[in-house]
Structures are given as C-alpha cells and as structure tokens.
C-alpha cells in the first residue's frame, strides 16, 4: 500500500481513537486497562489516600490508586526514602527521616 494511504489511514485511526477515548467511557476504560503504567481499577473510594509500601497513593474517580510520586528517568516508581505515613485526616505523605507524625 502506498505510504501516503498508510499515513492517511493512521491519521484517521488516530483521530478516531483520540475522539472516542476523550468522549466515550467504555473506550477510555479499555484503553486505560491496556496501557502499562496506568493502575488497574480496584474499586477504591474516590479521593481516598493510602500508603502502598513507601509510596503514597490517591484514588481517582475511576477507582484507580495513582502514585503521588513520579517515576525516575528509567521508569522505576519513586518512593519515600523514610517511608509513607498518614495524617490524622487521611492524607498519605512521605515521613521525615527519624519519624514524626502530622
């Protein structure tokens, strides 16, 4: 197939995917489920925080636990050097070295 037709097909496909996923719940869900790095839907309560080991996480509207720390440049999840803790009102945070609560 001539490359210009292949490019046009790719273009049409990408526009379709972009439009569908931006506006269609099932398409969004399917794409997220298939994408490495997107947390799985777990049924958590939207807005809740938790400590997943040394990583603070926040629950999204689709019930996914998203890390509150970035990845490093190699793709590994960054963590709290001195561990994760919870505030009295339920926010997860990186604890200071030597302990101490908020």
């Amino acid at each position: 197939m001539p490359s210009k037709y292949l490019r046009a097909a790719l273009l049409a496909l990408s526009i379709t995917i972009l439009a569908a996923t931006a506006r269609c719940g099932p398409a969004r869900g399917a794409l997220m489920a298939a994408t490495p790095g997107v947390p799985p839907a777990s049924g958590c309560t939207t807005g809740n925080h938790r400590c997943n080991g040394a990583v603070p996480e926040v629950c999204s509207e689709t019930g996914r636990w998203w890390p509150a720390l970035p990845r490093d440049a190699q793709g590994a999840q960054r963590a709290c050097p001195a561990g994760c803790a919870m505030t009295a009102d339920g926010a997860a945070y990186c604890a200071p070295a030597g302990g101490g609560a908020r």
């Binding site: 990408s14 972009l18 931006a22 794409l31 997220m32 603070p56 998203w66 440049a73 990186c94 070295a97």
Partner: protein, 221 residues
C-alpha cells in the same frame, strides 16, 4: 541562587547518565514540538496557551524506533514535523524552555519534572502517550506527581511549600484535566505538600538535588 551554567552542567550529566537527549531552546525541533502539542490539545478540546508554553514549558518525547512515532506522525498538519523532530535521535528527548536557561533553579526543576515523564514513556510506551493525550485522568496521574517533584526541589531550595502547592494547582488547571482529573491532581499535590511540611523528601528528590549541587561545586583537594 544557582548559576545557570552550574545547573546546565548538572542537566547534561543527568541526561548522559539516564540516556536521554537534552534539546536546548533555539533548536528548530522545539518549535515543531510546541506547535504539534498545541494542535493535539486543540483536537481534544483542552486549552493550551502557546505563547506561555513557548517561553516556559519543557517537554519530553519518545525516541526513534518507538511505535509512538507513528502516532505522533498521524497528528494532523504537524504530525510529520513532530515525528521528524523525534526521529532524529534514538533516545527520549527533553526540550528545555528559554526561562530554564536563564535561571539555574528553574532548570533543575524542569529537568527533574521532565525525567518523570521520560520514565512514564519508558514504562508505558506508545499506549501511554496516547492515553496521556486523550484522557484527563491519565494526564493528571502523569503531571501531578511531576509537579510534586517541582515542589520537593523548590522547597529544598528554600521556597515556600504552600505557595508552591497553590502555584502547581493553578498550573495544572491549564492541562484540561476535567473535574475528575483535577480532583486527582489536588489529592496528589496535597500528599506532596504534607510530605514537605512534615520534613519528608518526596521521592528522595530533595536529597538528589543537594547531592548534584555538591558534586559540581566540590573543590578538588
């Protein structure tokens, strides 16, 4: 105060160490990237201030050989330019803003912010890039932790954490995250703020920056 040349030395060393290319302002590829991103944001209906982005925004892109290039190429009008820009190198690229080159602290912050995106791209591949462009929640899950990195570094450099938190929240509203994405971003930023206020070091980033500064300013004996 961090001298821009010191920060640039750190940035170049990190780029070499972590295997990505640093693209400085003035490189024509950067302009192509900005126009491409503006077009992509226009497609999905999210607002994006091109003039502000041209001066302030850094960008991370996948490298050649990645299927993400095919998706980049398919973005209307500027896709081939974007893919052409990305295809000139094999490694992921980090595009720095003009403001970053004038302010050493801004440069360090931008590098560590964009490294988070480089890591996301390496972990998630082309599907991640598509999700990032199309889905507000994914964009929030990608950007908010990188703004926590900004908060961690800038707080370590002496800036006010609460002001940094509020500034990050305001900045994230420009990403078209939608109500759910904005709520997620707010939760992530709250975590970052609580970490810094407690004396914690989100992701070890503060210590990492301190170590980098000591390394480049150490006087050989």
């Amino acid at each position: 105060m961090i001298a821009p040349d010191v920060a640039l030395r750190i940035a170049r060393a990190r780029a070499e160490r972590h295997g990505y290319e640093l693209v400085l302002p003035g490189d024509p590829r950067r302009e192509a990237v900005l126009y491409g991103l503006a077009a992509a944001h226009a497609l999905t209906g999210s607002g994006w201030d091109l003039a502000y982005a041209r001066e302030h925004v850094g960008v991370a892109l996948p490298g050649v050989g990645s299927a993400a290039l095919g998706l980049l190429a398919a973005i209307p009008y500027v896709g081939p330019l974007l893919a052409g820009a990305a295809a000139t190198v094999e490694r992921p690229q980090v595009y720095l803003s003009p403001v970053a080159l004038r302010d050493g602290a801004v440069l360090l912050v931008q590098i560590l912010h964009e490294e988070g995106h480089v890591g996301d791209i390496r972990r998630g591949g082309p599907l991640w890039c598509l999700c990032y462009g199309a889905i507000g929640e994914v964009r929030a899950g990608a950007e908010a932790p990188c703004y926590v990195a900004d908060l961690a570094v800038r707080a370590r450099l002496g800036e006010d954490p609460r002001a940094l938190h509020d500034g990050a929240l305001a900045a994230l509203r420009g990403y078209g995250l939608g109500p759910g994405g904005e709520a997620l971003a707010a939760g992530v930023l709250r975590s970052g703020l609580e970490s810094v206020l407690a004396g914690g070091d989100p992701g070890g980033l503060g210590a990492e920056v301190s170590a980098e500064l000591e390394r480049v300013t150490a006087v050989p004996s």
